[in-house]
């Protein structure tokens, strides 16, 4: 009952925190996609440097979320921007790795056929490699988005807002229902994103690949 009351009393706070949370996550994922997909494609063309670069992205991911945010403070100060930078760095690896392995995983005979039929390398990329590796790339994006939403709860520690705000406040005020008011929407959001991306993945997978 306590919890319900908190939800009703603070519905505006929750709503704004919720929107902030989505904003933080969505922007970070978008940046990660914009950086990682082209980079992943590029790395398939320069395979010698691929391992070190993917290695760097993997190292970033081993840094605990809170520590990464702490690193942001001296460099970028507080607020949403440093939080978004940190989450973007975090989301790079799954998208990068899946783009790279997805494109390398395309059946070489497909590329041979495309090349032999007179496709330019751009046409091979957009007409063959990307459509065929799309399911793998989408899976990477889905992984990245689910844990970015979890991670976004930490943004509150450097003044980035989001549902973490409610959790942090609840913890300092020793108010359990306030903590839950932040945690429950955050969990739901993660599940929602996962479902949405699953759906997106399914609609974006070319029909011929599903048979």
């Amino acid at each position: 009952m306590e919890l319900l009351k908190t939800f009703i009393e603070r519905k505006e706070d929750i709503w704004y925190a919720f929107i902030d949370h989505i904003y933080l996550s969505a922007v970070s994922i978008l940046f990660a996609i914009v950086i990682s997909v082209p980079l992943g494609i590029l790395l398939t063309r320069y395979r010698k440097i691929a391992e070190p670069i993917i290695g760097v992205a993997a190292v970033i991911q081993t840094i605990p979320g809170l520590a990464l945010l702490a690193f942001m403070l001296p460099l970028f100060g507080i607020g949403q921007e440093p939080a978004i930078i940190a989450f973007t760095l975090y989301a790079l690896l799954p998208v990068l790795r899946n783009t790279y392995t997805g494109i390398l995983g395309v059946d070489p005979s497909m590329i041979d056929a495309g090349k032999g039929m007179g496709m330019t390398s751009w046409q091979i990329l957009f007409m063959v490699e990307l459509p065929l590796s799309l399911p793998v790339i989408m899976a990477g994006i889905r992984t990245a988005s689910v844990f970015t939403i979890g991670l976004a709860a930490l943004a509150a520690f450097i003044g980035g807002g989001g549902l973490g705000e409610l959790i942090v406040r609840g913890m300092s005020m020793n108010d359990d229902s306030l903590i839950m008011a932040g945690a429950i929407p955050a969990a739901l959001l993660a599940i929602l994103f996962d479902l949405a991306f699953r759906l997106l993945e399914r609609t974006m997978t070319p029909r011929g690949l599903k048979v």
Partner: protein
């Protein structure tokens, strides 16, 4: 049409895939490149559309050096069929076939019409198959689409890299038949790589046999089977296929022959002819070399002259046969002259047998039985 001049290909690791290759593919022929794996046949084919660049030498198409052509443009004008079929699984059959015409900027109504036409050509109903995806087709159907996709933009040249070897035996047979019929209609210049001699002999106008990067022999299937250039070709073709398609003299001759030495007298000769019931004797020396023939007529004419021996009456200017001569050669001799028997000699002119009309008929009869 396509000409290789002193073409070599050496890979970076030092393996020489093709060595000083000279070869010409004629317009409208189906040339199969065949040989054991690693013989350079695929490399040779892939140099035609510049998927592989030669290390040295020139390749020309209609006299034009392809190394000066834009590779993308070149490939759009050369059909390409691969072993793995290579249909794009995310595109419908119609989209797959229309791909090269689209790359060449044909208008939609133009390529749509072409797609229908091509599907009809290989007996796939356009209204059924056009909208399907490759994954919904059998392997044989898929490769049919692979073949017509290569024909879509009406190229003069089509390259096929072991296109049927991944198919089940029944589909493979059907597609081989298809390609023979198709080629009768379209008369394209086709370079077809295979490792299957049965396939090659079935579909090829000419076969080029390669080994270790070199062209060993190039000829029509029939000539290749009859006259393999060397031991390698013989082994590659396989002994069972080497049994000639028509009987030769060796199948048609008698080996027991009435012979005589040239020193015999005429009375002796006459007695021998009577005993053997023949009207001529083949005359040989002691090493069995054929010297000529003596006929009953001549012996009878000079019978009274006791001084004469066979040597005096010898007719040295006679027709002979080699054991490898074909039945048609024998038939021609019998057809053109009244000769009743033709001696068979080996390379050293030693007598090994005789072909008569009767022995020929018997030989043909036996040969047929043997084959059936």
């Amino acid at each position: 049409m396509i000409r290789f001049e002193h073409v070599s290909k050496e890979y970076k690791d030092g393996t020489v895939a093709v060595k000083d290759l000279n070869l010409e593919v004629r317009r409208g022929e189906l040339l199969t490149l065949i040989g054991p794996s690693g013989c350079g046949k695929t490399t040779t084919m892939r140099m035609i559309n510049r998927l592989i660049e030669p290390t040295s030498g020139t390749i020309t198409i209609d006299g034009e050096d392809i190394s000066e052509a834009d590779p993308v443009e070149l490939r759009r004008n050369i059909g390409y069929v691969i072993q793995q079929i290579g249909l794009f699984p995310h595109m419908t059959i119609g989209q797959n076939i229309a791909l090269v015409p689209k790359l060449k900027k044909w208008k939609p109504d133009q390529y749509e019409k072409r797609v229908d036409e091509l599907l009809d050509l290989v007996g796939l109903d356009p209204s059924v198959f056009k909208k399907r995806y490759p994954g919904e087709l059998s392997g044989g159907q898929q490769q049919r689409v692979g073949v017509i996709r290569a024909l879509a933009a009406e190229p003069d040249i089509i390259l096929m890299d072991e296109p049927f070897s991944a198919l089940d035996p029944i589909s493979r047979e059907q597609l081989q038949d298809d390609i023979v019929h198709l080629q009768e209609k379209i008369q394209k210049t086709i370079v077809f790589v295979t490792h299957d001699m049965n396939e090659a002999t079935k579909i090829a106008s000419r076969i080029a046999i390669m080994n270790e990067g070199e062209l060993i022999q190039m000829d029509t299937p029939d000539k290749l089977l009859r006259h393999p250039a060397n031991e390698f070709v013989r082994n590659f073709i396989g002994e069972d296929r080497l049994s000639p398609s028509t009987p030769t003299v060796i199948d048609l001759m008698h080996t027991s022959v009435a012979t005589s030495s040239p020193r015999r007298g005429l009375a002796e000769a006459l007695r021998l002819m009577k005993a053997k019931k023949v009207d001529s004797l083949l005359v040989t020396d002691q090493q069995n070399h054929l010297l000529g023939v003596v006929t009953l007529e001549k012996v009878a004419e000079h019978y009274r002259d006791e001084e004469k021996t066979i040597a005096h009456l010898l007719d040295r200017d006679i027709k002979t046969l080699q054991p490898s001569d074909s039945v048609s050669t024998v038939a021609e001799i019998f057809h053109e002259s009244q000769i009743r028997a033709v001696p068979v000699v080996d390379e050293e002119h030693k007598l090994i047998g005789i072909v008569t009309r009767a022995s020929m008929m018997r030989g043909l009869a036996n040969w047929n039985n043997g084959v059936l």
